[in-house]
Symmetry: D2
Subunit: 271 residues, 4 copies
């Protein structure tokens, strides 16, 4: 574009470029698809996400997988950072958006952000043909925990139901689950180290999303790299948890809870 | 509770009360329903919202309506306040959550917040048995525009497709659409004043949601009042638009857009 | 303006109007004053606030009062909502701006927002010539607590040092302290009801700021009303506490604190 | 601590540790200093920042420098990302905190965040004894622009007044300005490349703050490294610009500006 402008071919350069939604016509379109078409052809929330984020209509097994991820990550109780900050803000008498946002801002490297990293590292290791042993030991040398592996409570004998559900779905409906298989190989090796080093839900979503991108045959290699690099999968968690954080806000308002003040006794005042 | 504590019946009072999601057991539950049950019985995103916000399983025609609202409000182009701020923040090189949040914070009385008000006013007028004439003229006297009525571009001869789609859905699947009918009566009257005073999408969602709450027979009168007062329906727009704002963030990052600076020529510097 | 545009008198209407800072020239100006002038004439932070918020240079006793308010409200420990949410976000590994903002969003009716209300109500009552008795009893009838009155811990025998410091400053340097005197009369009456119904720091700042606006003789009546209505004084608290919230973020990062998770035992999971 | 807990030496471990402000006593203290002491000894905003961020009382020439930075960075017109988003949010009818926060979230690598990077790189290069030539050429090879160098409009013949003011202050009042001198050497070299590759205000603040930390002789080497690594200097810009963003919010509310909608003509809708 800037070349075209410099060359004088474009007369009035615009300041904003946008490609996902056009609201100028009779009816807004999502990546070129009219809203009425979406409703009339019985599409769902997963299709809208697929159009607005990935700019294409994905097959039903993909959009349903997206919806499953949203359902499974929608909430995880009041104790995690996000829900906690939302609850504190709602109890300070603030509006819905402020309460939601105060919680969303805690999402990051330590809370909710392991899906993208799991995808990045599994993809890199698998594409390079590293054996699980080589991959895990290389990470150990770098002092990085394998993202997508490990759980506080779950273990080989007490598996996370969500992982089972996703695994089963992928195995049944995906044309291929190369990356999930790789992740399971990694788990097999880490389980020889400790019983709780299972493939966790983040690792499962991360690897299966790679399989979705590849096996749907609707993305070029470059597009897949871009998706992983920009970090779309984090977006899945952010959107999903928005449902829960809004729920917690309503909950506190219904319960008419007063201003929260953290108890003095729980603070170590030091130098 | 505080009475029980004072009476010494509760030993260790807690600082937080929470009712929507229990993460203590084997598997987290949403309003008492296990995640695996949700997936196995082929539930969708609308069911999760229904459990986490309304604390009950709503029938399919309700959860599908919720999903339709989310689909229809997911985005409306890059020019509206929310998308614009998200775009500016993404172009400042900030992360996904910061970009999303900067846009969400514009949602309020003038952008995206007319659904709740439409529900509040239509409910009040309809329950009081006001004729459309009485209601509209009373609002005029108070100097308040009728929420849910009016559109910049659409008119009686050029109707908003989204309103048609929702209207048709409600008429086909809802047991009763008393409030929508009332809203349409109001429109009939306002159209005698000006051709663009149509029932808009906010008014359509607001009135139909009242019909959902009443006709499902799953809410007490008091619960309905609480939902309208707290403003749950705003939550629908906030959640829906989160999809679009995340989409705009990815879009700008894909396009590698540089820092946005508003043009000096577009600013009137005055005293 | 819009009339002028319609009349064709203004050719290219701008979309943004701005009056506080002009960055087009050699050197940016704050309300017309050059930065170098500010530094060379040994002005301070209070002068910058006075120019950017009130659009005029206030006398030294005023800008020093503004600085005192900022100093006294800069922080109040880690237990209050704002600091708590900032701490939780910093411990989730998020950046400075996200941590700060997550805390700022809790500021509102129940935390940090009593200064404006105190000013609004004291002004109204004093201007109407209500006796303290009439004012307090009228509030009681309306079921509203007198803003600026009352404290959890402080009492008539154990006064808040900050109130004393501000009171002393106002009495010494302000040309007149009509509103503070009124607030003290109100306190005199409420103390006959309970020993802890003292004038608190919010009430003291709120009433003294009214005195500043009036006694400086630099604001019209209409300008004062606008300042109180828009709620500038809340801004003082927001700015002040920004110092503390940034401090708490650095503190947690220095201490390398891990992800915060609220303890299960402190939550009442119920229906 | 965790060792002590495991060893059973600490009985009731706390969940929060905090070191900057103690609110448990009669009067809150900032890093051990009572508020009344601060006011009575005529301290200012710079002293409060110094206590809450750096946990020590810095000499007057330091706290005054901090105040100068805040004054000079308080605002830079309505066109920059931060002010623009704040203006859009205020025009959407949102409250002060939401408007402020929407703008703050744009602060980062491309807007307002060059101070820390300038300090980091100048410190590293200077400590390693790199000549300006070696440093600049090494950066060029890595494809990184020298932070703190370069300006859109200013040049060797048309210098930024703020840089002059800060430079003069440092030269007059700082015991030593080793890092600023180094930065000026770098500028000398970059100016041989292009006339606009001047030391900019971010570079000037960044290098002078290093001089402050070192020359005050109040910080250990490790503490200085920590300050630069955590990124305190970004905090200076964030706090300063909070003044301006609050000012822009009041400005739009005073002007009663309507909802902002970006003009369609300024958007390139593409694929
Ligand atoms: C999820 C997680 C935090 C649980 O950790 P935990 O049960 O508290 O584990 P601990 O910190 O007590 O570690 C126990 C041992 O297992 C090791 N370990 C834990 N997770 C590991 C991983 N992902 N890769 C390699 N080793 C791991 C630890 O290094 C430690 O070994 P050590 O005692 O020799 O140092 C952790 O497994 C992890 O960080 N995983 C990677 C990030 C991730 O996927 N997070 C998703 C959760 S939302
Ligand atoms: C949507 C809306 C902003 C469009 O407004 P607009 O086309 O710019 O309308 P204008 O401001 O030019 O008003 C044109 C006339 O119609 C009237 N009007 C517009 N909307 C009205 C309403 N909802 N109720 C009553 N009268 C209305 C105006 O008062 C005006 O009459 P006047 O010229 O005698 O003063 C407006 O209809 C409105 O505010 N509706 C209510 C809020 C709402 O539902 N918003 C949802 C949109 S997301
Ligand atoms: C600051 C405050 C929350 C402290 O409250 P508290 O010590 O917890 O007081 P309680 O809620 O236990 O109330 C004790 C009694 O004093 C009364 N009271 C407390 N504050 C009052 C006020 N501002 N005006 C009138 N009555 C008041 C209460 O109504 C109650 O009377 P009751 O037992 O007959 O109902 C309270 O005084 C208040 O809300 N003040 C107004 C808002 C304000 O200025 N806040 C600034 C603090 S940042
Ligand atoms: C401030 C800044 C954005 C101004 O940039 P600009 O005037 O738009 O400069 P341009 O992008 O047109 O670059 C002009 C040339 O100068 C070079 N240049 C600009 N800044 C440079 C720097 N800091 N170091 C080295 N070279 C630089 C560019 O590489 C370019 O050379 P080229 O044409 O051979 O590629 C830029 O100097 C910069 O990024 N500085 C570093 C970051 C910084 O300090 N920002 C503070 C501003 S708040």
């Amino acid at each position: 574009l800037s070349v075209a402008i410099k060359a004088g071919k474009v007369r009035a350069p615009t300041h904003i470029i946008s490609t996902i939604c056009d609201d100028r016509g009779e009816e807004a379109t999502y990546a070129g698809v009219k809203m009425s078409t979406l409703i009339e052809s019985d599409k769902g929330v997963g299709d809208v996400i697929s159009l607005l984020w990935f700019k294409r209509s994905l097959p039903r097994y993909c959009t349903k997988f997206i919806e499953m991820c949203i359902m499974l990550c929608a909430d995880h109780g009041p104790c995690v950072s996000g829900a906690h900050n939302t609850i504190v803000t709602a109890r300070a008498g603030k509006d819905l958006v402020s309460s939601l946002v105060s919680g969303l801002l805690t999402i990051g490297p330590r809370f909710g952000g392991a899906i993208d990293d799991a995808a990045r590292y599994f993809k890199d290791a698998c594409d390079k043909g590293l054996t699980p042993y080589d991959y895990v030991e290389a990470m150990k040398k770098k002092g990085i925990r394998v993202p997508g592996i490990g759980h506080r409570i779950k273990s080989a004998d007490n598996r996370d139901k969500r992982v089972d559900l996703l695994h089963k779905y992928g195995r049944t409906f995906f044309p291929s689950i190369k990356y999930l298989e790789y992740a399971l190989q990694v788990e097999k090796y880490t389980l020889t180290k400790a019983n709780n080093l299972v493939l966790n839900v983040d690792g499962c979503i991360g690897s299966l999303f790679l399989d979705l991108l590849v096996s749907s045959a609707m993305f070029t290699q470059q597009e897949i790299d871009e998706i992983v690099e920009i970090g779309y999968l984090n977006g899945l968690f952010v959107l999903a948890r928005t449902i829960g954080l809004i729920g917690h806000t309503f909950d506190q308002k219904r319960l008419k809870q007063p201003l929260y003040r953290h108890p003095w006794e729980d603070v170590l005042y030091t130098k």
